[in-house]
């Protein structure tokens, strides 16, 4: 029995909230494509601002893409073995490790970046390279990779599967290759999407860690908002949206799990 009035009230409220979130996005996309934002759509549509962004900020786009892929590689190498260890052992020590891993996420990016600067700022080669930013990104995204893989590994009976493989003669590395890795594929995929998405959008740390030669897309955005006309900033934001949209859609698709299958006994 639906209380129709209440339903429509809540629906209206939700629509309002959605509008609050989406309208500025739409406005910004439009602003990036109109000749003159103040005049509005009557001034005509154009790709001129997008091209201006591409010419002036092409490097930031490539750097962001490169960084997120590098971040992915590093988090895979560091994170998958860590998740394996955490799946194999659940005791006070492993819980402490999980807590520790999450710290760079809990602590404001500003603090983490500052800490890195005061410690390694004097190594000018390191400080001015994109590796410096990469370190910050890895610290921030590692717990997501670990959690994602750990979730999948915890859901399967890892111990028995490994014992089964061991009983057939498989040593540690064959087991890791044949049993552990293939069975956490879903976790690795979901974790990878998360890492790439987060790395692309990271700003708090990156703003402090960057140098004029190592600007990422969000850093470029901050520059553009501050110094350039609204249309260029909007076009730049549009480029960002275009890059992040497929990732977000893929992430949302991952959020819906497949239902478990039931197989009836056949008469044998």
């Amino acid at each position: 029995m639906k209380h129709r009035g209440l339903f429509y009230l809540q629906l209206g409220f939700t629509l309002l909230v959605s509008a609050f979130l989406i309208v500025p996005v739409v406005l910004s996309i439009m602003a990036g494509l109109t000749v003159n934002y103040f005049v509005g759509i009557e001034s005509g549509l154009t790709l001129r601002w997008v091209f201006e962004v591409w010419n002036g900020y092409r490097d930031t786009i490539f750097l962001s893409i490169g960084l997120s892929l590098a971040c992915l590689a590093v988090t895979l190498i560091l994170g998958v073995p860590t998740a394996y260890v955490l799946a194999k052992r659940q005791n006070a020590l492993t819980r402490a490790i999980e807590e520790l891993l999450v710290m760079p996420v809990a602590v404001p990016g500003l603090a983490t970046a500052l800490a890195l600067i005061v410690t390694y700022g004097s190594l000018s080669g390191f400080r001015t390279s994109w590796a410096f930013i990469l370190v910050g990104h890895v610290l921030f995204t590692l717990p997501f990779m670990v959690r994602s893989v750990l979730a999948v590994l915890s859901a399967i009976d890892l111990k028995t599967l490994e014992e089964g493989a061991a009983s057939l003669g498989a040593g540690f590395w064959p087991r890791f290759r044949d049993i552990v890795l293939p069975n956490c594929r879903a976790g690795i995929l979901a974790g990878s999407l998360m890492v790439v998405t987060l790395s692309m959008g990271e700003f708090n740390m990156t703003w402090l860690l960057h140098t004029p030669l190592t600007k990422t897309l969000p850093v470029g955005l901050a520059d553009a908002y501050a110094s350039l006309r609204l249309e260029v900033g909007s076009a730049y934001t549009l480029v960002f949206f275009l890059m992040i949209m497929p990732l977000l859609l893929a992430l949302q698709a991952f959020a819906n799990p497949r239902p478990a299958k039931f197989v009836a006994e056949e008469t044998e």
Binding site: I156, D157, T160, L161, E163, G164, A165, A166, S167, L168, G169, A170, G171, P174, D178, I179, P182, N183, R185, K261, V263, A264, E265, E266, E268
Partner: protein
């Protein structure tokens, strides 16, 4: 170190105990020898140490210091399972979800770097033996419980292990399937002639499959023997009550007669100080009208089961006697009956 694959193994456990890091004593020191080709069943309730013993034999656990595991006289105590060449079937089957049925069965051979053609042939052989040829390319989550069981067996046997270790393989299946598969496993073990160690809490399985049964309780061996011995001559009360049903009469012996509330039971071999006698439901029957019988009771409940009637008869003891009767008549509630016991089935513990 692996000896010749395929020849059945004699296994010996010497002074094997197991204490876990948190202090639980899972197994008291155990000495036991398994003959080549024998099927030994470790039977007992959960927590009795049977699975721990199996895992020590497998190489998944190490016995406490001083314990030794010997394969054909060779000390393998510190050899990990990867090198023991035993086939293991787990309670949850442990089938690899990322491989097909054929992939699972061939895995052990692949690890041993067997040539591809030989793997294919052996896998086909196993599929045929287990009658699951049509499942070869299925994924594990597409299989029913019984099918998974067969795949698990096929996978374990494919590598020609020297011994087969089965950890409650039928527990996860429903009753009817269990009965069918029990026969299949029995036939399989016999045809392979392999040394097999089988762990279960189901005494019917133990009796059907074991050449010898080791009944365990609280980490200790309660009795070792052939199924018939265990059933008819249980060594302790625990074994008596764990296996099948046991009836009990309390009273006193007096000159070749056991006197109890139910009446007087003539028993020439009655031990002098027996205060309690035990016997199976099939060793007691309702006496015919013309027979003399010393015991009396009243029928509390009667269940007609088709081939026999199960009677619960009150005789003044804590629990009613359970009697399996093949008499071709009905028993009324409250009916007075006279009971005769076969003295060969009487036990004093």
């Amino acid at each position: 170190m692996m000896t010749e694959a395929g020849k059945p193994l004699a296994i010996a456990l010497e002074n094997c105990a197991k204490t876990f890091p948190d202090g639980t004593r899972a197994l008291e020191p155990l000495d036991f020898a398994i003959e080549a080709g024998e099927t030994v069943v470790f039977l007992g309730p959960s927590g009795c140490g049977k699975t721990t013993t199996l895992r020590i034999i497998a190489g998944l656990e190490e016995p406490d210091a001083g314990g030794r595991v010997l394969f054909d006289g060779e000390d393998v105590t510190h050899l990990p399972i990867e090198q023991r060449n035993v086939g293991m079937v787990f309670q949850s089957y442990a089938l690899f979800p990322n491989m097909t049925v054929a992939g699972n069965i061939g895995y052990g051979l692949r690890i041993r770097r067997t040539p591809e053609a030989a793997i294919k042939a052996r896998v086909a052989e196993m599929l045929g033996m287990m009658q699951i040829a049509k499942l070869a390319d299925r994924r594990i989550d597409q299989l029913s419980g019984g099918q998974r069981q067969r795949v698990a067996l096929a996978r374990a046997i494919a590598v020609r292990p020297r011994a087969l270790l089965l950890d409650e393989p039928l527990t996860a299946l429903d009753a009817k399937l269990r009965d069918t598969l029990r026969l299949d496993i029995d036939a399989l073990l016999r045809s392979l002639g392999i040394t097999a160690i089988y762990v279960t809490h189901d005494q019917a399985e133990a009796m059907a499959l074991g050449d010898r049964i080791v009944v365990m309780e609280h980490g200790r061996v309660a009795q070792i023997g052939k199924p018939r011995e265990i059933y008819q001559r249980p060594a302790t009360r625990f074994v008596a009550e764990f296996i099948g049903t046991m009836n009990r009469l309390t009273g006193m012996t007096d000159n070749g007669v056991f006197a109890c509330r139910a009446g007087n039971l003539p028993w020439a071999d009655a031990p002098a100080n027996a205060t309690e006698i035990l016997f199976r439901p099939e060793d007691i029957r309702v006496a015919e009208s013309h027979e003399t019988a010393g015991l009396q009771g009243t029928v509390a409940a009667a269940f007609f089961l088709g081939d026999r009637t199960r009677l619960f008869v009150e005789v003044g003891e804590a629990r009613p006697l359970v009697i399996e009767s093949t008499a071709r008549r009905d028993f009324g509630h409250g009916e007075a009956v006279r009971l005769a016991i076969d003295p060969r089935g009487l036990l004093v513990l």
